[in-house]
């Protein structure tokens, strides 16, 4: 009977979304001092999505276990920031958190953008809707959503919203988040090879991307601007920045809430202009590729 049930569960896994995987273990060889941080990350992600998702977190962390240039503090920061980023705040998460609050908790009104709301749906459903919204010019429109436990209907609605987590890994937003986390880890990896002193600063750039709505979009855009303008060219040997960590910190300090990113772009140009002109042939070589 158990075998039949297991087969049925497997057959319907995409629909019912049950995750019966075992709780993942800490990555082998990870520093003992950091075990509480990693363990907390695992439990957070099990609550957020399920054991398989937590396993993905452990697999990603494993890349930095015993890695030259990664001390305990840096490993701990990667573990902490990655868990935060992997438990990104979408409407599903906010509904989950609201359900966990006390019954008397006051209502929360959060402002999202329409594309953010639709992006929480599976890609197959979201894509046509986003196409229509784009046609109407409503994609970036702000929408206020109330998360309330004040009535039975409110609680029922929260439960329905939270239940969408079954399809979260098929969503448009998850695809973006996955690409972001992988790119961040890739940049840390490249920093460790090309400019190890800058690696802790690259790790900390994860704090730029937080929340939801416009602040999230802006943080994401600023992060990509800094990485594309300073970090990646340095790793590609297209820009000879001797102190990448300092340059990234300087650029971050210049970032301000501005959708046109004027101050940040100016600062990045300024930092790049400071690079000695001898580096320019290297830039040209790198752009033409091997």
């Amino acid at each position: 009977m158990a075998g039949v049930l297991s087969s049925l569960r497997y057959l319907l896994a995409d629909v019912i979304g049950d995750d019966d995987a075992a709780t993942p273990l800490l990555p082998e060889g990870s520093p003992d001092a950091i075990a509480p941080v990693v363990s907390e990350g695992i439990h957070l992600l099990i609550d957020y999505q399920g054991p398989s998702y937590a396993q993905l977190y452990v697999d990603r962390l494993r890349r930095f276990v015993g890695r030259a240039g990664v001390d305990d503090a840096m490993f701990g920061e990667i573990a902490r920031l990655m868990a935060n980023r992997m438990s990104y705040e979408d409407p599903i998460r906010i509904a989950q958190l609201k359900l966990g609050e006390a019954d008397a908790a006051p209502d929360d009104v959060r402002q999202f953008r329409i594309d953010e709301l639709v992006g929480a749906l599976p890609t197959a459903v979201a894509d046509p809707i986003l196409g229509v919204l784009d046609y109407l010019g409503w994609v970036h429109k702000p929408v206020s959503i109330r998360f309330s436990k004040a009535s039975r209907w409110g609680i029922r609605r929260l439960k329905i919203e939270a239940s969408l987590r079954r399809w979260r890994l098929f969503s448009v937003r998850y695809g973006d988040e996955r690409a972001w986390v992988e790119r961040w880890l890739h940049m840390i990896d490249r920093a460790l090879v090309k400019q190890p002193a800058a690696a802790p600063q690259i790790v900390q750039t994860a704090t730029m991307v937080q929340g939801y709505g416009d602040p999230y979009r802006l943080g994401m855009a600023d992060w990509h601007l800094i990485i594309d303008g300073l970090a990646k060219p340095t790793f590609d040997s297209a820009l000879a920045l001797p102190d990448l960590a300092g340059a990234v910190a300087e650029a971050r300090a210049a970032a301000c809430p501005d959708s046109r990113q004027v101050a940040l772009k100016r600062k990045i140009d300024e930092i790049r202009a400071r690079v000695p002109s001898e580096a320019q042939p290297a830039l040209a070589d790198a752009r033409t590729g091997p």
């Binding site: 993905l56 697999d59 990603r60 890349r63 690409a179 992988e182 790119r183 880890l185 890739h186 990896d189 490249r190 594309d228 590729g289 091997p290």
Partner: protein, 222 residues
Amino acid sequence: MDSSHLAEHAGTAGALFASVFVVASTTMRTMIPLRVFGILTNIVLISTAIPTHNYLIILVQSGVLVLNSYRLHQMLQLVRDVKKSVNGDLSMEWLKPFMTEHKCAAGQALFYKGEKAESMLYIVSGRFRLVESGIEMPIGAIVGELGMLSPSNTRTQTLECVEAGTILSVSYTKVEELYVQNPEFGFYFLRLASARLFQNIDTLEQRLAQQAALASSAPTPA
């Protein structure tokens, strides 16, 4: 003689005959026999529906017959192409009909080193570079075909688009489906993947030999 009486008997006999094929179809474990029996069932059902003028059944079964025939043709063609590839240039072009097209912008990373591999890619146009090794992938190259069979299932390098282009991708799940549906395809796919692996080993051995030859011919310092 009453022809409607005859048509009724023919219909009953035909329905019984078709039922045998329906039951037989459900016992098929793999795709090709399943499609063949599906086609036979469609033909029998159409034949029995003609005397009784049951146009709805004729219409539905004709549609399913076309679909079954097309899928059977696809599957047979796939097996033929993989077989040809094993005995020929080891190309993976036969996968193209099962792939989805994606446009890539310059600077876009298709996957990162250490990331879990879930699909294989075919480069149609543009320029793509493996970041860590600096190797540029030529047009027509398949990337990630061995990742499906590797135990770690992770990307060993980062693939970046240098110049905007197009790629085709197919998920490992889709290839696994083809593999499970058709044992003959599975057998040839394994042979093909092994042959490509051996080809890679040969290339590496040649490079090692060349490096060793260069090292031995270099003048030794006094």
